[in-house]
Amino acid sequence: MTVKIRFFARFRELLGTDILTDVTAGTTLRSLITTISQRNPEGHAAIFDENGTFHEFVILMKNGKRIELGDAADTSVADGDEIAVFPPVAGG
């Protein structure tokens, strides 16, 4: 199963974007983001605190729909999913 992860803004600068990765069945949103973000300690620290908990300002989406941070450990990913991870928005 392949999923795509898109990081934006500061997270993109630290971790890249449009990352295609193979996942096994049962992989959760939280474990996926943890694994990918560990590629760069600074990127991981931008998203998670020292206990491995999401910083409360992080925003997650799966296929364009918002996923609450508290649901990320119970949300599984499936083939073809697009996951987005980004900091608070600042448009306008």
């Binding site: 898109r6 934006f8 803004a9 500061r10 993109r12 908990t53 999401f54 409360e56 300002f57 925003i59 989406m61 364009g64 609450e68 941070l69 508290g70 649901d71 990320a72 987005a84 980004f86 900091p87 608070p88 928005v89 600042a90 448009g91 306008g92």
Partner: protein
């Protein structure tokens, strides 16, 4: 017109097109790159989601404030001081609805549309901090 694009727009043409039957007031909001000692502003969007969000905001503003026409054009890419970032054009029968509708749209964009800005300076750059009113709920 609802769009996220790199190019600028002809605001005069948008105003002309916004004059739908029954129009008595048109409000134009033009957000520009301010000269805060920066060299450029870099703008980035999660485009597919941002366009859908803008469409939702336009629809809700039209319903709430009885708008006759809405344009929202948000630019991305690198923009210099004085360049247009965001243009909102709304028309309504009367000025209270036009002003309120325009204000509603910009405030909703600031709250939730996935767009980010980075101020570039001679020494580097800095992401403009966004608002984050969410949090709470389940432990993460």
């Amino acid at each position: 017109m609802i769009a996220i694009q790199t190019g600028d727009v002809d605001i005069g043409a948008l105003i002309t097109a916004a004059k739908k039957p029954g129009t008595g007031a048109i409000v134009v909001f033009d957000g520009v790159v301010r000269d805060d000692g920066i060299t450029e502003m870099e703008l980035e969007a999660y485009e597919e989601v941002a366009v859908k969000e803008l469409e939702k905001i336009a629809k809700e503003a039209t319903r709430q404030f009885r708008l006759l026409h809405v344009d929202i054009i948000h630019r991305v890419g690198n923009l210099g001081v004085g360049e247009n970032i965001l243009i909102i054009v709304v028309s309504a029968g009367h000025r209270p609805e036009a002003y309120a509708g325009s204000r509603y749209i910009i405030e909703e964009i600031k709250k939730g549309v996935p767009i980010w800005k980075k101020e570039l300076t001679r020494d580097g750059g800095r992401w403009v901090p966004g608002e984050h009113g969410h949090g709470g709920g389940k432990p993460t």
